[in-house]
């Protein structure tokens, strides 16, 4: 018997139509999933951390879970400014345990959104955001724009599952890609607008100006002719239901949150003429969840410092990259992320100098340098929980197979570390 309608814990699409065949506690096949989803499920047992370990000069030594937990608790208790980081590839209950630890040690919590859609959140804090939902897009959109996003690669089923099938409340649909290069997604779209790198803000602003009927005294902006831009603005105004999906091409290019701010204001203004929404193309399957859990706990979506006993928020100051580059933190509790592989070199240099406690199912670059490694169950495959889709929909993740013997979910390991720290006080 197949296990049906399983949500896929890979990207922010959280496709929940996955059909798995499970035999003898092993996943044999994955129907409906994309290539990445298939790999995630079928090879979940590969490259696993073999057991809790501590690092010595000669390498990692396997230890009991209790010993690893005790060591982790000692590191965190002794630390003056610990950072709790990651969280985007685990479920919500693990987040809640991680925040309890951060509050107890008066540390800093940051999730990986500070290096992906953090600027989107800053844009929202400037201007708000008319957020769309994937269901409504599928049912109603007649104009879909992907801006600075290459979904065919990053979210392989996004087009086929959410934006290509035209629902019963839209009679037609046009899909655009706006990007700095002709990607595979551009090939799949009805129209492609190539802009010069670093010119998103100008292009957005000009579209707004044209919408308002201003005349511009130039012939070209950001690689597009005024004629092309005029045509874009007119199509956007003429749409009945438009949606803007935006990716890291907008949030992490020159201008960052200013680009998102401009995009939000463009979409808000388009609501004067038609219905327009926007959706960030969230990457990790539960990065949106990490923002949500931290927000209901502290009021803030990322970059939260507990050093004064209450939450404070300051992106640029309490964000992981900035803390590490300044050499400010003296211990890292890393949960379900690989900062060594993804953060800039200057941040990584400091990471190598401080004790790292690493909770992850798999071996990765961070596990190589971690002082404590504790393998954990894979959320959405070996343990249940909740994750949040890119449009804010919470979905219940399944446990489809048992984790390897002795391996616990992140939330349980974090609870053990917390309890150990409390008992040491």
């Amino acid at each position: 018997m197949p296990v049906v309608n399983v949500p896929c814990p890979f990207c922010g699409c959280l496709c929940d139509d996955i059909e798995l065949m499970v035999h003898d506690g092993r996943i044999k096949s994955n129907r409906n999933g994309c290539a990445i989803s298939k790999t995630k499920f079928l090879r979940h047992a590969d490259d696993r951390l073999v057991g809790p370990s501590l690092r010595h000069s000669s390498g990692h030594e396997l230890v009991s879970l209790a010993t690893a937990v005790d060591h982790a608790a000692r590191i965190l208790s002794a630390s003056k400014r610990p950072l709790v980081y990651g969280l985007s590839s685990t479920e919500n209950d693990a987040h809640r345990e991680a925040y309890r630890i951060a509050e107890l040690v008066r540390g800093v919590v940051d999730n990986t959104s500070s290096v992906c859609h953090g600027p989107s959140i800053l844009g929202t804090q400037d201007a708000g955001e008319p957020i769309g939902s994937l269901g409504e897009v599928r049912l109603r959109a007649d104009l879909v724009v992907y801006w600075g996003s290459n979904p065919q690669v990053s979210h392989p089923r996004h087009l086929n599952r959410y934006t290509r099938p035209i629902g019963e409340f839209a009679s037609k649909r046009t899909i655009w890609v706006v990007d700095v290069r002709r990607t595979v997604s551009a090939e799949a779209a009805d129209a492609f607008y190539q802009i010069q790198p670093g010119h998103d803000l100008e292009v957005m602003s000009v579209l707004r100006a044209l919408l308002r009927g201003h005349k511009l005294d130039c012939t070209e902006v950001g690689g597009l002719s005024i004629g092309q831009l005029q045509q874009m603005a007119e199509s956007m105004r003429a749409a009945e239901y438009g949606v803007l999906f935006y990716g890291l091409g907008l949030t992490q290019s020159w201008g960052r949150h200013h680009n998102v701010d401009a995009a939000i204001r463009l979409v808000q203004e388009l609501n004067e003429y038609a219905k327009w929404s926007m959706v960030p193309m969230r990457g990790h399957f539960n990065v949106a969840g990490a923002n949500r859990t931290l927000t209901w706990t502290t009021g803030y979506p990322f970059a939260v410092d507990f050093s004064r006993g209450y939450p404070r928020y300051q992106p640029g100051e309490y964000t992981a990259v900035d803390l590490l580059q300044r050499g400010e933190v003296d211990a890292l509790l890393n949960v379900a992320a690989d900062p060594l592989a993804s953060l800039p070199a200057a941040a990584v240099r400091h990471l190598r100098r401080i004790p790292v406690i690493n909770l992850d199912p798999k071996r990765n670059l961070t596990s190589l340098i971690a002082e404590v490694n504790i393998p954990t169950a894979m959320a959405g495959i070996e343990c249940d929980g909740v994750a949040v889709r890119m449009d804010g929909l919470p979905l219940y993740l399944r446990k489809v197979v048992e984790p390897p013997a002795g391996v616990l979910p992140d939330r349980e390991v974090l609870r053990m570390i917390y309890d150990r720290m409390v008992s040491m006080r």
């Binding site: 008319p130 409504e136 804010g392």
Partner: protein
């Protein structure tokens, strides 16, 4: 810890038992109020203090996706009010958008023990259930929104009332809701087209139905199911000058509906300060011509008893407006050009909820009149049992302003003091200044606990201090003679309970949180005949595959998130015909 407790020498205000300031003892055992306790019970002497049942809030936005979006979008709000962790409590933030832990603590500190989240998009109910694990110290009820839901529309269009009732029942089972909320029926849906629907008989886009049909059908479905709480209603045309006329027309449209088991009240009108805007004679529906419609609605209420209300009292100062009324929020954004978020929710709230931060200024001519709307109502309504206190938190102001609202209602001196600071429009366009009425402590106990408990259908165990009630108790350091001397004493006393007891456990002592137990979550569990249930689930499943972008199997909130807290209330069974 002894499970028996005796509160001695309480001055009790318990309107459900007609007790108005009698001195008595309250025995508590195993979380309930009982006849007597053994000699060995621990005792607390409350001589001279005012004792009421724990406060019950019928309308406060404390959970869920739009609140969280608002929190994430407004760091400047939290910055004004950081809350440090203590040995007993977690840290967080307060102000107009308190974090989850702080929400529970602050309600508890005010002597509240039950709160109702009135706007849950059913598809995101899981969000709420997750969050309430971090919201302690209060019992909770949730109301899923169904007034712009396409599956609702389909049943209404087919005039399939049993089908609609069975669908409502399925939603309540799937989400753990207590009752049904309707927000701008059809109007929020129209917002998916960038439009609104303001009149009762205007057809909504894509469908052959009108707000009147949606409203009356859902109201009938709720009464058919015999849900504990009647339909919870946010009307069409909200926030529009002159809308008291449309609000009354909408209430009129429901008048013919027979209440379940002969109950009189078949609809609860939420946050009247936004629903009862009048217009000056010969004026136009523009803010410059706003007039309080509170008196007009109160007169209507005095002549018609099929509905109840909560105030949604405007409190002045910062607020964050958030409703499931997308087009209204957009018009507010156009007015303020402040931040604006809109959130669409698939099939259930096409067009979606909106969020706009807002500050009410007593010097603003319109805000001053808006303040007067619900105040005028509260000072002119004869039957306080149909009037619950609220600020529609955080729309008209945060719930932490309840004590201030009570001081306005209880003291003419306090009102006069505030009126001198307000724009003179309030004197010209409302009758608040002329009213001498002052609510008594008995009336306060009605509007803040007894009435909302009755309206929610929780009166078997909530809102009173009789034997068998949950031991949810609030003790305030307030004497009847204090009130006239210094209205600010009212504010101080209700802000900081001397003692709050939740389910028999002391949770607040002298205004400080003493313990952080979880409350229960009250849901209804309506029964429909098996064949009807099967038919409707089949139809919903089919519509699901057409309209939703996720699987039917992943819709219901899993038991794992509910088991620890959910307390279902039994309701009668409904058949196909």
């Amino acid at each position: 810890m002894s499970r028996s407790l005796l509160l001695q020498n309480c001055r009790v205000y318990d309107p459900l038992h007609h007790i108005d300031g009698e001195i008595m003892d309250i025995p508590i055992r195993d979380g309930k109020i009982v006849d007597s306790v053994p000699e060995s019970a621990s005792r607390i002497d409350l001589s001279g203090l005012t004792v009421m049942a724990g406060g019950v809030d019928i309308h406060t936005h404390i959970l869920g996706s739009k609140l969280n979006t608002a929190r994430a979008m407004c760091p400047e709000d939290h910055r004004a009010d950081p809350v440090a962790a203590t040995k007993k409590t977690r840290s967080g933030v307060g102000f107009t958008l308190p974090s989850s832990f702080v929400t529970g603590y602050r309600y508890s500190t005010m002597g509240y023990t039950t709160v109702t989240e009135p706007a849950v998009p059913p598809v995101k109910a899981l969000d709420c259930w997750e969050e309430l694990h971090d919201l302690t110290n209060v019992d909770i009820a949730m109301l899923p929104m169904l007034g712009n839901n396409m599956i609702t529309f389909d049943f209404v269009q087919q005039e399939d009332l049993p089908g609609l009732a069975a669908y409502v029942s399925w939603i309540l089972h799937s989400t753990g809701g207590l009752g049904v909320k309707v927000v701008n029926p059809g109007g929020t849906y129209a917002w998916a087209h960038g439009k609104n629907v303001r009149e009762l008989d205007t057809e909504i886009p894509d469908w052959r139905i009108t707000p009147r049909m949606i409203l009356t059908s859902l109201c009938q479905a709720v009464e058919m199911l015999g849900l504990p709480h009647p339909l919870h209603f946010h009307p069409n045309n909200l926030g529009k000058v002159g809308n008291v006329e449309t609000t009354i027309a909408q209430l009129e449209s429901l008048k013919h509906i027979r209440g379940h088991n002969g109950r009189k009240h078949i609809v609860h009108l939420a946050h009247i300060s936004f629903d009862a805007l009048g217009m000056v004679e010969g004026g136009r529906p523009e803010w410059k011509d706003v007039h309080s419609g509170g008196l007009q609605l109160a007169e209507y209420a005095n002549a018609n008893d099929h509905f109840t209300v909560d105030l949604g009292q405007i409190t002045f100062g910062p607020a964050t407006t958030m409703t499931g009324d997308g087009p209204f929020q957009f018009s507010l954004y156009e007015l303020t050009h402040s931040k604006w978020a809109n959130m669409t929710v698939d099939v259930e709230l096409p067009g979606g909820a909106g969020i706009v931060p807002y500050t009410y200024d007593p010097k603003s001519p319109t805000n001053a009149v808006q303040w007067a709307v619900s105040m005028e109502y509260a000072l002119n309504i004869r039957d306080i049992w149909r009037c619950a206190l609220s600020t529609d938190h955080p729309n008209a102001g945060p719930f932490t302003k309840y004590p201030l609202v009570l001081s306005w209602l209880m003291s003419k001196r306090q009102r006069d003091r505030w009126l001198t600071e307000m724009h003179p429009s309030v004197g010209q366009r409302s009758t608040v200044a002329e009213s001498d009425r002052e609510w008594s402590l008995y009336e306060v106990a009605i509007a803040t606990r007894a009435a909302p408990a009755v309206i929610l259908g929780l009166q078997a165990t909530k809102g009173h201090l009789g034997v068998g009630a949950d031991a949810d108790i609030a003790v305030y350091d307030l004497r009847p003679d204090d009130i006239q001397r210094d209205p600010d004493r009212i504010v101080r006393a209700f802000s900081s309970a001397h003692l709050t007891v939740l389910g028999g456990r002391v949770v607040v002592k002298r205004g400080e949180v003493a313990s952080t137990p979880h409350g229960r979550v009250w849901s209804s569990s309506p029964q429909v005949e098996e064949s009807l249930h099967r038919r409707v689930v089949g139809e919903v499943r089919e519509r699901f595959s057409r309209w939703y972008a996720h699987s039917f199997d992943n819709y219901a909130v899993p038991v794992r998130y509910r088991a620890a807290f959910e307390t279902p209330m039994a309701t009668p069974s409904v058949a196909e015909s």
